[in-house]
């Protein structure tokens, strides 16, 4: 017990009070973050000045921007010497930027519908809380989108889809006894169905047909979306398989995967695209005409898959071996332990890396402009900039292309951050 009157009883409780004005809200934040020391004050003022000069320099360009003109000459006339952008090109060439210059303008509703439906197809894949039944639509979507974009009779995608269904059904049916037997029977059954279905399609080419649009008429941002979506969608499963193959105990599978990954990673994408465009034509027999878009998609898928495989391999290696052992000791076989235990964790670790590669792939789709395909950048570099009316409008066009890609890629990266938070279970 202390000596001097340690006994104390409080009769009245002190009400909670607000902190002094310098310790709350904006004032506190400004004091602590902007003006806490003389050096800080100088840096703050300097930054404000830099921000001001940038805005002051760029603002007139935006504000004076001309939206209605028929050529770059018109723009200059309207601006009359003042600084200003010539946004009219975006307005006048909007369909070309988005759909390319050959896609029939009466059919624009088809890619539009395909993009809107794409959002519905992606939703159940991206958001796990949505009902699993919606995944059925995601399965059908690729075939539906093919019909919408390329046109022709819907029998083609229907036959393709049913072929897959039959193949998978046969595989399920027979793989219970032996995996290889099931796979072989599945492939044979699907192929037989496709050959037979081919006759039906040939006989009914006009059945419910939409106007057919050949691949070489695809262009604009639509082509970027098309290539990017398909390449990313195919390369993620392929990349996972390659990563698993690289860690396989079976030497032949392992070496095939290692060779594939190392070869593809060691070659620039643009080289692969040239191979797809030019060199394959020398090696394939003359009568085969594999669609150029298909060849490009295959190359992009391979390229992206090789990178994803390495990212996923990193994720697999990061898991403690105890996870494999625990799964094994519970009697889970290889495919089940991968599906339920290993891959969910390894992929979660790999999300930033996978998204990184995929965002890169989305942007790399613009490389096809070099093999004379008219994607967004190809359209700008080719038909638009070389036309007499819009010659020299670089900033507006490339700025618009950059903005479009930024919006898409930034959304993807925001989604991935959200997904990582969703999957966080360790310290919730």
């Amino acid at each position: 017990m202390a000596k001097n009157n340690a006994a104390f009883v409080r009769h009245q409780l002190i009400e909670e009070q607000a902190p002094p004005i310098t310790e709350r809200g904006v004032v506190k934040w400004v004091r602590e973050n902007l003006f806490s020391s003389p050096f800080n004050v100088i840096m703050t003022l300097l930054s404000l000045w830099v921000i001001y000069s940038i805005i002051a320099g760029v603002a007139p360009w935006f504000i004076n921007g001309v939206w209605n003109a028929n050529s770059v000459r018109d723009c200059y006339d309207i601006l009359d010497g003042a600084t200003g952008a010539c946004f009219a090109v975006l307005k006048e060439r909007f369909p070309q930027l988005i759909y390319g210059f050959k896609y029939p303008s009466t059919e624009y509703w088809r890619p539009n519908t395909a993009v809107i439906l794409l959002l519905f197809a992606l939703a159940p894949i991206l958001f796990r809380k949505l009902p699993r039944k919606f995944l059925l639509f995601s399965l059908i979507y690729p075939f539906l989108a093919y019909w919408l974009i390329w046109g022709g009779t819907p029998l083609v995608p229907v036959v393709a889809f049913l072929g897959f269904v039959i193949g998978i059904y046969c595989f399920r049916r027979f793989s219970a006894n032996a995996f290889a037997l099931g796979a072989i029977i599945g492939v044979i059954a699907a192929n037989i169905f496709w050959v037979l279905g081919g006759y039906v399609v040939d006989a009914n080419e006009t059945f419910l047909a939409l106007q057919a649009v050949p691949s070489r008429d695809m262009g604009g941002f639509m082509l970027n979306i098309l290539l990017g979506t398909i390449a990313v969608a195919l390369s993620i499963p392929l990349g996972i398989l390659l990563a698993l193959g690289r860690k396989s105990n079976m030497p032949i599978i392992k070496w095939i995967c290692v060779l594939f990954i190392e070869f593809i990673r060691g070659v620039p994408l643009i080289t692969l695209l040239f191979v797809a465009n030019v060199i394959l034509a020398f090696f394939l027999p003359p009568e085969t005409s594999i669609d150029l878009i298909l060849r490009v998609i295959v190359m992009m898928t391979f390229f992206n898959a090789a990178y994803i495989a390495e990212v996923v391999r990193g994720g697999l290696a990061a898991l403690p071996s105890g996870q494999y052992e625990a799964a094994n000791s519970l009697g889970l076989d290889y495919s089940k332990s991968m599906r339920f235990i290993i891959l969910p964790q390894a992929l979660k670790i790999s999300i930033p890396g996978i998204v990184n590669t995929c965002v890169g792939m989305l942007k790399d789709t613009t490389l096809v402009s070099i093999i004379s395909m008219f994607d967004l950048v190809g359209m700008i570099r080719g038909p638009i900039l070389s036309s007499t009316s819009w010659n020299g409008v670089y900033w507006e066009l490339f700025g618009a292309a950059a903005t479009i890609f930024f919006v898409v890629c930034f959304s993807v990266s925001k989604y991935s951050q959200w997904l990582e938070r969703q999957l966080e279970t360790s310290n919730r």
Binding site: P320, E325, G331, L332, T425
Partner: protein, 255 residues
């Protein structure tokens, strides 16, 4: 006086190991191991680190492959045949030093996953079984949490429940309390003692000698990859025969 938890041991052989050898590269990890474990028997394996005790029990459910000799578990010989290995693994439960719960699944999902996909138990039934065993290890209220939210002792008890959900005939424990804080060791040991009282066949690698005295039918001492001495616990602790055993016991009991 420690309560003795010793049940009837049947004549049926649960695990038979004959002349088994195991190498890691050129290192001879297990040398000519002969061991027979009867149904209902509880065996404690002890020995200095690196003596091969963990490797021995990991060979029993084929987490490690043995290179020569014979291991017969529950009447099935362990060969490289995948089907045999999966069959044995679903009959043999295993608990690890570091629990190895699946961190991305809830406690309940940890316990039901193998039932649903290996045993093909319907989900509702699997959840009932899981809750039954979670109650048995006294943590049913944690069922919806994730492993990362539990203490070490709780995680190890979940790991035991997860193994029990597969209704194994044999349980292997690989130093189940070595990674735990002292106050959590007891809760895990109590769970294991209860399991022993229920007549489970167990092989336990541990340094908990109190547990060995109370529960084991037989204590095995290993060194340099071989079985140096095995005996009933009273005899083993009070009257060790080999010098190596005496040295080991004096070191772990001497403080």
């Amino acid at each position: 006086m420690i309560k003795q938890a010793k049940n009837e041991v049947s004549d049926e052989i649960a695990i038979g190991i004959k002349g088994m050898n195991k190498w890691f590269g050129s290192f001879h990890a297990l040398r000519d191991i002969d061991l027979t474990v009867n149904q209902g028997e509880r065996i404690v394996v002890c020995g200095p680190s690196g003596s091969g005790k963990s490797t021995l029990i990991r060979c029993v459910n084929a987490l490690e492959e043995h290179q020569s000799g014979q291991i017969i578990v529950d009447g099935i010989e362990l060969t490289s045949d995948i089907k045999n290995i999966d069959k044995i693994r679903s009959e043999v439960g295993m608990c690890f030093q570091h629990f190895n719960l699946f961190p991305h699944l809830t406690i309940l999902e940890n316990c039901t996953l193998a039932q649903i996909w290996v045993r093909k138990t319907p989900k509702v039934e699997a959840e009932e079984i899981a809750m039954h065993f979670l109650e048995k290890v006294k943590i049913p209220e944690q069922a919806d949490k994730y492993p990362g939210q539990l203490s070490g002792g709780q995680q190890q008890r979940v790991a035991i429940a997860r193994s029990l959900c597969m209704k194994p005939r044999i349980m292997l424990f690989d130093e189940p309390t070595s990674a735990l804080d002292p106050e959590m060791i007891k809760e895990v040991l109590d769970t294991m003692i209860q399991l022993a009282e229920d007549g489970m066949t167990m092989i336990v690698v541990t340094h908990e000698m109190g547990f060995a005295r109370q529960v084991a039918n037989r204590v095995i001492f290993m060194d340099m990859g071989q079985i140096v001495e095995q005996n009933e616990p009273e005899e083993f602790f009070n009257n060790p025969q080999s010098d190596r055993t005496k040295l080991f016991l004096s070191q772990i009991l001497g403080h």
